[in-house]
Amino acid sequence: MFDHTLMLTILPCFFAALAVTACGLWKPRWSLPVALLSVGISLFGSLAVLAEVMTQGRVQYFLGNWSEPRGIGIEFNVDPISSLMLVLICVVSLLSLIYASGKITEELPGKEPLFYALFLLLMGGLLGICMTADAFNLYVMLEITSLTSYALVAMGNGRRAAFSAYNYVIMGTIGASFYLLGVGYLYIRTGSLNMADIFRIIQLESLQGSPTITVAFIMILIGMLVKMAFFPLSGWLPNAYTHAPSVTGNFVAPLMTKVSVYVMVRMIITVFGIEFTFDHLPWGQTVVWLAILAIVAGSIMALGQSDLKRMLCCLIIAEVGYMVGGAWLANIHGMTGAVFHIFSDAAMTLCLFLAAGIFHHKNGTGEIGSLEGHFRKMPITMAAFTLGAFSMIGVPPTCGFFSKFYLIRGGLESGQYGYVVALLLSSLVNAILFFRIFETAYFGNLSEGHHDAHGNDDHEVEIDEAPPTMLAPLVATAAGLVAIGLFNSEIAGFIQRSLTPLAVGGTW
C-alpha cells in the first residue's frame, strides 16, 4: 500500500521520544498520550509489515534510497521471523505501557516524561535490531537499547538499583564490545557490513575455513551470549531485573534477552549460514552441553529464591538455555522451537512479571510468602498468573507446551538426549516452583470463620483486585498465551518460511 511501512514502525518511537521530552518541560501530562499514540502507530505499522511479509515473503527497504550494498546505504530487511519480532515488540510495549500508565506516578514520581522518552527510545532500538540487515547498524541499535535500559534500570529506588545498573552497564558494555570486535573482523575479511553481502562473499571466496571469520563468529557469539544472560555470563540479570522499577522490568525482561537470542539466530542463519555454523565449526555439541548447564543451573537457582521476581529472573536464565540449545541442535525443528520459544517465553515472562508487579503493588513486598489467600483475594490476577505458570510448566494448550514439543522433537531428531532430559527436568522444577506458590496462595491463612450449611462463606471474602489499567494487560497476555498455543502450527509454519530455504545439503 505504501512503501515506507517499515519506517512507519520504527520512526514514531524516535520522534515521539523527542516530543515526550519536550512535553516534559512544557506539559508533562501530555507525555502519556503522545507515547501511547506513537506505540499505537508502531503497532499498526508492524502489523502492516507482517501482512506484507505474509504475501510477499519479505520486505526490503533502503534508508534514504541508498541501495548500493557496499556503499553508505543501510538496508532494512524483514523476513517472517523478524516481522513476527516486530509485532511482538510492539505488543509487549503497548501492554507494558498501559500497565506503566497506572503505576508510574507511584513508582517514579516526577520522572514520567523521562521514563516515557527512554521507553520509546528502547522500543525503537529493539525494533531497529530486528529489522536491520546491516551488521554495524545492528550494533548502533544495540547500543541504543543498552544505554536506555541502563538508565531505566537505574531509575529504581535506592542504592541497590544503582549498583545493579552499574553491574549491568559493565557486563552489557563487554558484550557489546565483543560484538563490535566481531563485526570489525568480518569487515576486515569481507569488506562489507551488509548481512546478505557478507554471506555471499563468504560463499563466493570460500572463506569458511578462514580463521578471521571463525574469530569473528566467536566474538559475536560471546557478545550475544553475554547480552542474553547465558549462564555463566548471567550474573547481572537477576539483580538488574529485580531492582528495576516494575514498570521497567515488565518491558525489559520479556524483550531484551529474547532480542539477543534473535540476533544470535540471525547471525547463524543470515550472516554466517547454517553450513558454516553447524558443519565447519566443531563445537555444536559443546554449546548444547552449555545450554543444558544453563537450564539446570537456572532451575536450581530458582529453587533457592524466596522473592517472586528473582525466581522469575532465574527462570529466564533457564529459558535462555532452552533457546540457545534449541538453536544449536542443528536441525530445522530445533531452530523452529528456539524461535517459537522466543515468542512464547516473551509472552510468559510478560504475564508473570505483570502479575508479580501487581502482587508487589498490593502487598508492598515481593516475597512468595506474602501471597497467602490470594486465590480468594485476587481471583483474576491469580487466574492469569496460573495460566502463565502452566505455560512455564508446559501444560497444553498453552504456548509453553508447544515450544517444548518442537524443542524435544529437535532434540530427539539430532540425538541430543541430554538436552531432552534437561528440558523435562526443568519442566518438573517449574512445576515444583509454581505449585509452591499456588500452595501458599491456596492453603495459607485458613479462614477460621464460620460458614453455613451450604458452604456459603464466599461473601465474607473481599475481592481486592488491582486497577483495570494494570489488570487489562495481564488478562490480555494470559489470553495471548493460549492464543499462541492454539495458533502454534501457523506461527511455526511462518517461522519455517525463513528457515526452510536455508537447507542446501542434507544437514537441515
Partner: protein, 491 residues
C-alpha cells in the same frame, strides 16, 4: 473401523459440564439453584452421550475435528465403542455422585462448596475429553487438564494433610506425564511422521524395532500413572484425603479409569496388538500388572482406615484391567473393558458407603464398624453388594467381567495370569468379608438406639449404585456389547 459420521455431539458432551460452571458460580449465593444446575449438566451430559449410543451400536464411528493444532495431529474427537463405554460409565455415575455430593457436603457443612462443584464439573469435561480423544495428542491435553483440575478437589480441606496428599498427587501425576509421556509422545510423532491417530492396528505398527517398542511401551504404561501401576501408585492412597464424593467418582471411577483407559488406548491403538505380540511385550505388562494385583491386595489387608483399604483395592482392580488387555486375547480385552464398568459401579458403591458412615457418625476405621448394620442397614447392605462385585461373586456385576478376564487368560495360554486373578480374588474376599461380618454379626460396642442413617441424598445414591451393580449381573447391557465390539475391531 466402521463408517464415519461427522457430528458435534462429542464436543457438546464434553463442553456441557464446562459451560455449567458459569451458572454454578453465578448462583453461589443460593445453593439449591446452584446444585440444580449441577444436575441439569449431569443429565444433559448423560443424554448427549446416550443419544450417540444407537449410532455406535450400528458399528459407526462419530468424529468431530476441532482444530489442527499440530500438523497432522488435530484436537479431534472420535467416539468408538471403547470411548462410548467409558463415557457412558462416567456420565451415568456423575448423576449419582452429584446427588451423593450434595448430601455429603451439606451433611458435613463443608466449606467452599461452589468451588467444589465447579471443579467437579471441569474434571468431568476433561474425563469425557479423554474418552472421546481421537489421537494421542488430544488424549494428553485432556489428561493434563484432568490432573490439574482435580488438584483443588483433592486438597479441598486445605489443611496440612490435604497439602501433603496434594503434593504427592501432583508429584506423581505431573512427574510421570511430563517425564515419560511427553517424550514418548514426541517420539511417536516423529516416528509416524505426524500421525498420532489411534487405529485398530496401532498407529506405530511396523515402524518400531523391538528395543524402541519396549522403551515406548514402558514410558507410556508407567507415564499414565493415573492407572496406578506399581511403583507409581502412591498418589492414590495419598489422594484419599479428598472429600468422599471426590474419592468416589474421581478416584474410583474417572481419574483412575482415565489412567487405565489411556493404557488400553496405548495397547490397542498406538503400539498395536501385532507389535506387542511380535516382540512379546504383552508378557512384560502381564508381570508388572500381576505383581501390582497381588501386592496391592496384600497391602489392603493391613489397612485399618476404610478409605485407604478401598484405595489399595482400587489399585489392584485397575491392574486387573491392564492385565486383561495385556493378554492380547479377544476375551481378555472384552473382560477388561467390561471391568471398567463393573468395577466402577461396585467401587463407587463402596466409597459411597464409606462416606455415608463418616457423615452419619464420623467413623473412618474398620475396627469401629462392629454391629454397624443395625444402625445403617441400607448402607451396609449396599456395602456388601459392592464388596461381592469387587470380589467377583454372583449375583454382582463383577462376576461377569472376571469371568471374561479369566477366560482371556486361558485363551492366551497364560496360566500365571489365571493364578494372579484367582489368588487376588481370594485376597479380596479376605479383606472385605471381615468388614461385612463385623458389621452384620458382631455386637456393637456401645449399642445404639435405632436406625441412624446418613443424609437421605447419600443413602439414595448408594442404593442406586448398589442396585445397578446387581442389575449388571443379570443384564450387562450395553457394556457387554460395546466391549465385545471393541475387541472384534481390534482382533
Amino acid at each position: 473401523m466402521g463408517e464415519v459420521v461427522e457430528s458435534s455431539k462429542p464436543l457438546w458432551a464434553c463442553l456441557v459440564s464446562l459451560l455449567a460452571i458459569v451458572p454454578i458460580v453465578r448462583n453461589r449465593r443460593s445453593p439449591n439453584v446452584r446444585d440444580f444446575w449441577s444436575f441439569v449438566a449431569a443429565f444433559a451430559k448423560f443424554g448427549i452421550v446416550l443419544s450417540m449410543l444407537p449410532l455406535i451400536r450400528d458399528g459407526k464411528v462419530i468424529e468431530c475435528t476441532l482444530w489442527e493444532i499440530l500438523p497432522g495431529a488435530p484436537i479431534q474427537f472420535r467416539v468408538d465403542a471403547m470411548g462410548m463405554l467409558f463415557a457412558l460409565v462416567a456420565s451415568t455415575l456423575w448423576i449419582v455422585t452429584t446427588l451423593y455430593g450434595i448430601g455429603y457436603m451439606r451433611g458435613l457443612k463443608e466449606h467452599a462448596q461452589t468451588r467444589f462443584f465447579a471443579f467437579f464439573a471441569l474434571a468431568l469435561s476433561a474425563t469425557l475429553g479423554v474418552a472421546f480423544s481421537a489421537n494421542l495428542l488430544t488424549l494428553y491435553v485432556f489428561y493434563e487438564i484432568l490432573s490439574l483440575s482435580t488438584f483443588p478437589l483433592v486438597t479441598h480441606h486445605q489443611d496440612k494433610e490435604a497439602r501433603r496428599g496434594g503434593r504427592t498427587y501432583l508429584a506423581y501425576l505431573l512427574g510421570t506425564s511430563v517425564g515419560f509421556v511427553l517424550p514418548a509422545l514426541v517420539y511417536c510423532y516423529i516416528k509416524t511422521d505426524g500421525n498420532l491417530d489411534f487405529s485398530p492396528d496401532g498407529a506405530l505398527s511396523g515402524l518400531l524395532s523391538g528395543k524402541e517398542a519396549m522403551v515406548l511401551m514402558l514410558l507410556l504404561v508407567f507415564g499414565f500413572a493415573k492407572g496406578g501401576l506399581m511403583p507409581f501408585h502412591s498418589w492414590l492412597p495419598g489422594a484419599m484425603v479428598a472429600p468422599t464424593p471426590v474419592s468416589a467418582l474421581l478416584h474410583a471411577v474417572a481419574v483412575v479409569k482415565v489412567g487405565v483407559f489411556c493404557i488400553l488406548r496405548v495397547i490397542t491403538g498406538v503400539l498395536g496388538v501385532e507389535t506387542l505380540r511380535a516382540f512379546d511385550l504383552g508378557t512384560v505388562i502381564v508381570w508388572i500388572a500381576g505383581f501390582t494385583v497381588i501386592v496391592s491386595s496384600l497391602i489392603a489387608l493391613s489397612q485399618d482406615n476404610l478409605k485407604r483399604r478401598l484405595a489399595f483395592s482400587t489399585i489392584g482392580q485397575l491392574a486387573y484391567i491392564i492385565l486383561g488387555a495385556s493378554l492380547l486375547a479377544p476375551k481378555g480385552l472384552t473382560g477388561s473393558l467390561m471391568h471398567i464398568a463393573m468395577h466402577a459401579f461396585g467401587k463407587i458403591t463402596l466409597f459411597f458407603c464409606a462416606g455415608a458412615i463418616f457423615v452419619a457418625n464420623g467413623r473412618k476405621y474398620i475396627s469401629q464398624c462392629k454391629g454397624l448394620a443395625r444402625e445403617m442397614p441400607f448402607t451396609m447392605t449396599a456395602f456388601a453388594i459392592g464388596a461381592l462385585s469387587v470380589v467377583g461373586i454372583p449375583p454382582a456385576g463383577g462376576f461377569v467381567s472376571k469371568l471374561y478376564l479369566v477366560w482371556g487368560t486361558m485363551e492366551a495360554d497364560m496360566y500365571q495370569a489365571t493364578c494372579f486373578y484367582l489368588v487376588s480374588s481370594f485376597l479380596n474376599a479376605c479383606y472385605f468379608f471381615p468388614i461385612i461380618f463385623a458389621a452384620f454379626f458382631q455386637k456393637p460396642e456401645n449399642p445404639a438406639n435405632g436406625i441412624r442413617e446418613s443424609h437421605p441424598c447419600c443413602v439414595a445414591a448408594l442404593c442406586i449404585t448398589a442396585s445397578f451393580t446387581l442389575l449388571l449381573f443379570f443384564h450387562p447391557g450395553p457394556f457387554y456389547w460395546l466391549a465385545n465390539m471393541m475387541s472384534q475391531v481390534v482382533f
